[in-house]
Amino acid sequence: MKALEVSDASKRFGDGVAVDRISLTIDSGEFFVLLGPSGCGKSTLLRLIAGLESPTEGSIFIGERDVTALEPGDRDVAMVFQSYALYPHLTVAENLAFPLKVRKIPRAERDRRVVEVAGMLQLGELLSRLPRELSGGQRQRVAIGRAIVRRPKLFLFDEPLSNLDAQLRLSMRAELARLHRRLGATSVYVTHDQVEAMTLGTRIALLNRGRVEQIGTPAELYEKPATRFAAAFLGSPSMNLIPVGMMTCDAPAGAKELGVRPEDLGVGEGPWRGTIDLVENLGAEVLVHVRCGEVMLVVKGKPGEWMAGAVVDLAPRRIHWFGRDGRRLGGS
């Protein structure tokens, strides 16, 4: 069932285009991730969906209802902000109850739901605290709780983990995944972090300069990047992109660039001979920089097998081809 449809939506600020004729449909229960570098328009798109900005063109449907002209409060969406945006003068319990109070839900029901959500997010002990007495992770949980308590049609997350330290981000990511599995609520999640996108998303829309580069499951984006931008953006370290002609290969007609992921390169009979320039040890694996003529290739390998200065032959296990327009060539 369709939960959200963005139809040909654009948003212009003065001369700049933040969102450029984007269309997408999200099914109910999906965890849909808007991914892209900063300034790609992902947050603006989320704000269009929330109703905090109105589109210059196009329309937005939540369920079957056209909400383009509706105020955020009338769209039945809940939003978790990057900065949490907790009401500083209200306790945790009051923060959680606030959206229910605004919607005139009776007190008994309100209290019941607050307690339920507090239990779900381990906030029970903190109900009488003020936001300033909480740690970053606790604040983020309250912000998520304030969204859940509403039971909205749609959850919107605007980079909710980016203010947390690395350790906490990891555990909150897992917590979000568990929550989504438990509640099955349709969510739109904005992030610039590909790991968050890959681990949380049921589908990802990769945005670049206000336009959609590719929509698909995490596996599709990784296995079959539709454009050279998608190929370069996903994966760490990112794909080796080499102009055709620099390396010996059987390029299909029209190919301008070839791409090989660092993990798809191995030592072998391969056609590419180079000298190991640098070995970066990451513990479980190493990143090996190999100089092949003018090209520097990055290879992901096992520790112990590589030594700087040695000459190796590399064989690509898989090659992606991209045409002159940056699009993937069919069949590759």
């Binding site: 929330a50 109703g51 905090l52 105020e71 955020p72 409060g73 009338d74 969406v77 809940a78 939003m79 902000f81 990057q82 900065s83 949490y84 945006a85 907790l86 009401y87 500083p88 003068h89 606030f98 959206p99 605004v102 919607r103 003020l130 936001p131 300033r132 007495e133 909480l134 970053g136 604040r139 304030r146 509403r150 203010n163």
Partner: protein
């Protein structure tokens, strides 16, 4: 050793600032004869409220106090809501030339009183408001408003807009957002501005001197200035009136202090 040095510096600074007030307070409890004595005594030999009684019976200090409270309180009650509305608009709306507008407002608050008193006198007289508390209150609002707007606008800009956006998503209309979300977050700024406005109106002397000649309408600073007679300088009564003029301000700051010190939006967004 360093702590001792620091502590004595603090004591010195506090003592330096408090000494005149302490002297004033002690003087107000001395008898007129003791005040005149050379060399002066530090503590009153005999504590007496004679000066306060004199200040009331000869100069009606109670009435002065009441007038001051009415004018300063009224000014604050009008200035602060107007300033909140204006500052909110300036802090949040995308108005072209907003910076210029703010600068102009700041410039307006910097006009020396002497430069405008002549025109003001004419205007107040023209409106038939000479010798009235309203006639004094209107210029006070005009004078305190620019600074109040300016202070509030810069405070308001520091309040994260996500708070209001969260309220909108939660279903609040503009009025509810302002009253239930924004103003509580901005309360310390509002109280600070209220105190500054009140203190300005409370202490203002020059316009009160020019616009109020009728003793029954005069405010405390104006009244105290009139206390010295041609041949007498009633130090005791002046000290008593000054103490009375100070008490409301001290009370106001003490009462509102807690609200000011509570951090601006502590905990609302990431620390």
């Amino acid at each position: 050793m360093r702590r001792l040095g620091f502590a004595s510096l603090v004591v010195l600074a506090v003592g330096w600032s408090l000494a005149p007030f302490l002297w004033l307070g002690l003087t107000s409890f001395k008898s007129p004869r003791e005040i005149e004595r050379r060399p002066p005594s530090v503590l009153p030999e005999k504590w007496t409220v004679e000066s306060y009684e004199q200040a009331q019976s000869r100069h009606g200090v109670g009435r002065l106090l009441r007038n001051s409270l009415l004018v300063a309180g009224g000014t604050t009650l009008v200035t602060v809501p107007l300033a909140v509305a204006a500052a909110y608009a300036l802090a949040r709306l995308r108005i072209p030339g907003r910076k210029t507008l703010l600068s102009v407002i700041l410039v307006a608050s910097m006009f020396p009183q002497v430069a405008i008193v002549h025109t003001l006198y004419g205007m107040v007289q023209g409106m038939g408001l000479m010798n009235s508390r309203l006639g004094l209150g209107i210029p006070y609002v005009t004078l305190t408003l620019p600074l109040a707007v300016w202070i509030l606008a810069s405070f308001f800009k520091e309040i994260p807009i996500e708070l209001e956006e969260a309220a909108r998503v939660d279903g609040c209309g503009p009025v509810r957002t302002l009253v239930q979300v924004f103003l509580p977050a901005a309360a310390p700024a509002v109280f600070t501005t209220a105190i500054l406005t009140f203190v300005y109106a409370w202490n203002e002397f020059f316009f009160a001197l020019v616009l109020l000649t009728d003793p029954s309408k005069q405010t405390l600073p104006r009244g105290i200035a009139l206390m010295p007679g041609r041949y007498t300088l009633p130090w005791g009564e002046i000290a008593a009136a000054s103490v009375l003029a100070t008490i409301p301000l001290v009370l106001l700051v003490l009462v509102l202090q807690r609200r000011i010190i509570r951090g601006l939006t502590a905990g609302a967004v990431k620390g």
